[in-house]
């Protein structure tokens, strides 16, 4: 369903003499429909950049991103806009993912409005989504700062669901959250995924979380994918030295 070929993103700095940071360097992989690919790697290795490049939130330097056979990187602005709702992203910081000046209700209604859903239908849909992600209707009239991080992440999920996406990039969706809340959110994502047959790219630096969430795992190091394979293969039989280092010290409590 999603195929990434030779994707690279270099950041340049300096005006006279350019210097490049190879944040993502010639990355290739594919994800099947309904599959979850976990992406692990140390901080700054390029995970976020990769996720954002795939969705064209930043323009990649080179490569192809084929989504159902369409090269996303070739779409023009208008085509991209109509195409976008099919792919969504969930960010690490749930509080920053919502406009602080909009009520929860408005935030969730926003994608519906953008999709030109009939005005009269919106209210009902919003209610439905709110319940779907396990919030209570009273939350609809609050502002993000009046809710906890876990609740905000639910709102983000509700909003993503409103668009009926096929593919979601979850960029460390729970790393800002508490263990107990993390469990709630991760479970919710799993449930929704199963129900809606979503395809997921799940980014995290927490091996245990990725292990729980993913079908396959890709290990990223210095902008490149250094190892990729089924969950258990990676955990039991790591090949790359970095993966070994990651897996070796895991504490079993």
């Amino acid at each position: 369903m999603l195929e990434v070929k030779g994707l690279s993103k270099y950041f340049s700095s300096g005006i006279l003499r350019k210097r490049y940071t190879k944040a993502v360097d010639d990355v290739n992989f594919s994800i099947k429909r309904g599959e979850t690919l976990g992406l692990v790697g140390e901080s700054g290795c390029g995970k976020t950049t990769l996720g954002r490049s795939i969705l064209r939130l930043i323009e990649p330097t080179a490569g192809k991103v084929l989504f159902d056979g369409i090269d996303i990187l070739k779409l023009n602005k208008k085509e991209l806009r109509t195409f976008r709702p099919r792919m969504q992203m969930i960010f690490q910081d749930p509080d920053a993912s919502l406009n602080p000046r909009m009520k929860i209700r408005e935030s969730i209604a926003e994608p519906l409005k953008l999709q030109r859903v009939e005005k009269c239908e919106i209210e009902g849909k919003v209610q439905e989504l709110i319940e779907r992600v396990g919030l209570s209707p009273e939350h609809a009239n609050r502002y993000p700062h009046q809710l906890s991080g876990g609740q905000n992440q639910r709102v983000v999920l509700a909003r993503v669901l409103a668009l009926n996406p096929d593919f979601i990039v979850a960029d460390e969706p729970t790393s800002a959250l508490d263990v107990s809340v993390q469990a709630q959110i991760l479970n919710l994502i799993q449930d929704l995924k199963r129900e809606l047959n979503l395809t997921l790219l799940f980014i995290s630096h927490d091996l245990e979380v990725v292990r729980y969430m993913s079908d396959r795992i890709a290990v990223m190091y210095g902008g490149k994918i250094v190892e990729m394979g089924d969950v258990e293969d990676i955990f039991n039989d790591a090949k790359h030295p970095y993966t070994k280092l990651l897996v070796s010290g895991k504490e079993v409590v």
Binding site: R81, R84, M87, N99, L114
Partner: protein, 283 residues
């Protein structure tokens, strides 16, 4: 709505802000109702240089105009110039700030212009322009706007730059929202408080600059502003060796001081409200 109410609430608790707003409203009301408040037409001439008495609370100026009425009418010009300029400059600054923050390439060029404007000595340039443009209120406004927008642009832009990378803006884009939609519906409301602060600060700056230019004799000599009153007072040969300064120089000077202070108070309070780190220890 509650967000707004909340900051309103904080504002009310902020004694400095409320004081400023109070003073400012007094002056705005004075300006609006000047014809009802002033005992005379400020251009009507009586005996020149009459000291204060029951007829003329603050006496008359060098050509016999009632100083008290002049003072009241002057609040009109001073505030009019200040607010008109601030509105236009903040408007231009906000728009260019918004777009230059959002579109990098456009922003790059705008910022070079802004840098240039900020690197050039502002007041000397204004003085020159003021000397050679026919002195009218509108020319003054044009000059002030010309030099007022870049600061706002820069401040708004840097705010937009940080807002632009917020995940919620990315989410909007992912939902298929267009640039204008994002700018108008998501970024603008978030920078609006900053725009208000800029507006207030610009108004303060303009009042000072207008007074300064008028004082140097570069304002419109036929208009009645506090700076112009001070200019005529300063030109008066015995201003320092007689007592006339008490009723001719002091009142317009103090009016400028108080209005600026009020604006500073309001701006200061607004900034405290906007900066949550400062808010905790509000006075």
């Amino acid at each position: 709505m509650r967000g707004a109410l909340k900051s309103g609430n904080v504002f009310c608790k902020n004694r400095i802000g409320v004081t400023g707003l109070g003073i400012l409203s007094v002056f705005i009301l004075t300006a609006i109702f000047a014809p009802f408040l002033a005992p005379y037409d400020p251009c009507e001439m009586f005996e020149p240089m009459a000291p204060p008495d029951s007829q003329h609370v603050l006496g008359t100026n060098d050509i016999g105009q009632d100083i008290w009425s002049e003072l009241i009418y002057a609040s009109r010009i001073s505030l009019f110039i200040a607010f008109t300029t601030s509105i236009i400059a903040t408007f231009i600054g906000t728009l260019s700030g918004l777009f230059s923050g959002y579109y990098e390439r456009f922003g790059f060029f705008v910022m070079r212009v802004v840098d240039l404007f900020l690197a050039l000595p502002r007041l000397p340039l204004i003085i020159i322009l003021a000397v050679f443009m026919p002195t009218s209120i509108w020319n003054l406004i044009i000059i002030f706007v010309l030099f007022g927008w870049p600061i706002t642009t820069r401040i708004i832009r840097s705010e937009v730059l940080t807002l632009r990378t917020r995940p919620y803006i990315d989410s909007e884009r992912m939902m298929g929202a267009g640039d204008l939609y994002i700018l108008g519906r998501h970024i603008l409301p978030n920078i609006f408080p900053l725009v208000v602060v800029q507006f207030v600060m610009e108004a303060r700056h303009v009042i000072l600059a207008e007074a300064g230019l008028s004082f140097l004799g570069l304002g419109d000599p036929t208009s009645k502003s506090w700076g112009m009153m001070l200019h005529y007072a300063f030109e008066y040969p015995t201003i320092f060796i007689s007592e006339v300064w008490k009723w001719w120089m002091l009142p317009p000077g103090l009016c400028i001081v108080v209005v600026i202070l009020a604006l500073v108070f309001v701006g200061f309070a607004l900034e405290e409200i906007l900066n949550p780190r400062l808010r905790r220890e509000i006075v």
